[in-house]
Symmetry: C2
Subunit: 370 residues, 2 copies
């Protein structure tokens, strides 16, 4: 054959890429496993034992399709947040919901505003619909609310992304600042407020849920504090009409039956969540102490990771990253200018942080060429 089916011009112009390479791919390349898996902001503490038992118990039921309405999980989320089920949509992780939001609000050529160095998968999905990314640099390790607002207005952006607490810097704005930002947004601009780490920071960072406003969609996940990254389940909370609009394009059978049931069970065990939050706080302190003991500067964090300023430039931080990887410690680092002098270390089990503590001095020495 001489010809082939052409991709659409939009898709044809995109690169073939995996926005986040997983630790498994690195392990395959290296030919050996990591000893500490503290790079993907997973919860090494796992899901609640009750969730594990429930998942194990329903394995034999997996011959049945999932409920395409995600009914029981929506009801549980709604009760948990004090909203109605009509204000909740469930998706294949926040990633899946971001893809849908991009398709819903962004036509080819539209400007979409985010921070320079914020979540790459959001950018990937915006590119996937032909959106034009407009990036605003972080300011003092925070997403720059004023800068984001200015860019939205200047570019007439239909969509803006903000994560609070923030990944990859771990920083956060208090609710009052977020509310001020929301109130200043043009009514025709949709805000994606990514609260993936919402359960892990101070309660003061989370504005009250307000589903009367049609230009805010808040996203949360079972991947972080609830310890269920592997089941792929997140949810969005918004005004009912916005939620209804997801029905137009979502993959109704995208969230597994296992995930829907595990999610309900996870919400029901808030005591487990509290215990995880406590362990994450302790882990953040430990990581910060390790960083300081090595002359590095840990940034304050409202998440399950600590971003560490390595005190030099991006090239140096990259060497530290590589030295840690070569010592079987899986971590990641921000890559964007302005953030790239840092590495990012997820809270893990004590024995994983022990390994980090043992290996960091050697990694720093190697990065310094000693």
């Amino acid at each position: 054959m001489r010809q082939r089916p052409p991709l659409t011009p939009l898709v044809g112009a995109l690169p073939s890429t995996v926005p986040f390479v997983g630790p498994e791919a690195q392990e395959r390349d290296r030919g050996r496993p990591f000893r500490a898996r503290i790079g993907a902001n997973e919860s090494s503490f796992g899901p609640s034992p009750k969730v594990i038992a429930r998942m194990a118990g329903i394995a034999g039921d997996m011959w049945m399709y999932c409920d395409p309405d995600n009914h029981d999980l929506k009801v549980a989320v709604a009760a948990h947040l004090g909203v109605k089920a009509e204000n909740v949509v469930v998706g294949e992780g926040i990633d899946g919901l971001l893809s849908l939001v991009a398709r819903m609000y962004v036509a080819p050529g539209d400007a979409v505003v985010t921070s320079l160095g914020a979540y790459p998968t959001f950018n990937f999905h915006v590119a996937g619909v032909g959106g034009r990314l407009v990036t605003v640099p972080y300011k003092n390790d925070h997403e720059d609310l004023g800068g984001l607002l200015d860019a939205v207005v200047k570019e007439k952006a239909p969509l803006v992304y903000l994560s609070n607490p923030d990944n990859p810097m771990g920083s956060w704005w208090d609710a009052a600042e977020i509310i001020r930002f929301i109130e200043a947004l043009p009514e025709t601009t949709m805000l994606v407020l990514d609260e993936a780490y919402g359960e892990l920071g101070p309660a003061s960072a989370l504005p009250p849920i307000d589903v009367s406003r049609p230009n805010v969609v808040r996203m949360r996940t079972f991947s972080k504090a609830y310890g269920l990254a592997g089941i792929r389940c997140g949810y969005a909370v918004a005004e009912a009409q916005v939620i209804s609009d997801f029905e137009k394009i979502r993959n109704h059978y995208g969230v597994s039956r296992m995930a829907q049931i595990a999610g309900v069970e996870a919400l029901a065990d808030q005591a487990w969540l509290e215990s995880v939050v406590g362990r994450v706080e302790a882990g953040r302190r430990r990581i910060s102490e390790i960083a300081e003991a090595n002359g590095l500067k840990p940034l304050p964090s409202a998440t399950n990771f600590v971003t560490i300023d390595c005190g030099s430039d991006g090239a140096f931080a990259m060497k530290v990253l590589q030295a840690l990887l070569s010592r079987d410690v899986f971590i990641r680092k921000p890559m964007a200018p302005g953030l790239d002098h840092c590495i990012r270390v997820s809270v893990g089990l004590d024995r994983e942080l022990d390994i980090f503590a043992e290996e960091l001095p050697g990694a720093l020495a190697a990065a310094r060429g000693n």
Copy 2:
């Protein structure tokens, strides 16, 4: 607020719809459960006991993200089919892959050819990218290969859908007919060959896998014969460049860790698959006998369901469907003109088919107004 963020013109023009209402939604509406769940072409025989044990055993590992490359499952599928991993992409069921294919090959206004009454979720995803559906009526309960080909050529369609074995009619074409169809297709038209039921019919219905041809993408699933509908996992097999193009837009973290591992385990237990195929064959015979005993005409089937000609018009078949639902027997029926005189009954457990046998006479009498 007086204004709201506008949807894109494309999405704004779509209805908010669930293409397939699930049995759970019907049970919620009815206020009581079904006694026989034989409507969604699930496998009541369940997944392999080895798969169940493995899923139960890894529940505690779900704190880890899935491998975004789906590496191990791709390798296992490739080995199973005698292709390379680069010829396989894994998705959130065939549904998820259909959504991607539509985005890859269909620009707004493009014609997409399918059969009138074929898989509604394909149509949903085509509408979601602004494609213009061109439908070809079935002919003698088969998808009309000649008619599909004519429509493709006439409409210069970039994409055509064919399921073999077919849903909702259960019919099939032998491999030679499929190959003839493929060879006659324009080189610039992509064929989605949906083989969701491929393991359940005669081997002669499946052409040899040929990944040299860039205009065929074959889709298979763990939802049917493998009994894993609830984990949401399917795969596509195609030429390597086509597979690589999926990377441009897919949700890399869409398929759960549970699904990836369950899929590998399911492929490894071909003895279980064979036993299921045997039980499905027996179930088809049983359903056909029940239909004939009631004066109805079962159609030949290469799937895990039997489509039954109720011998009258669509309105009558609808009454039969409703009478069975009211008797707590969950089945479905084709709705399209030319197919709508039929009901569709999935193979279930013996006790479920017992209930169908018990309730069908009364349902027919009710439908006839006796």
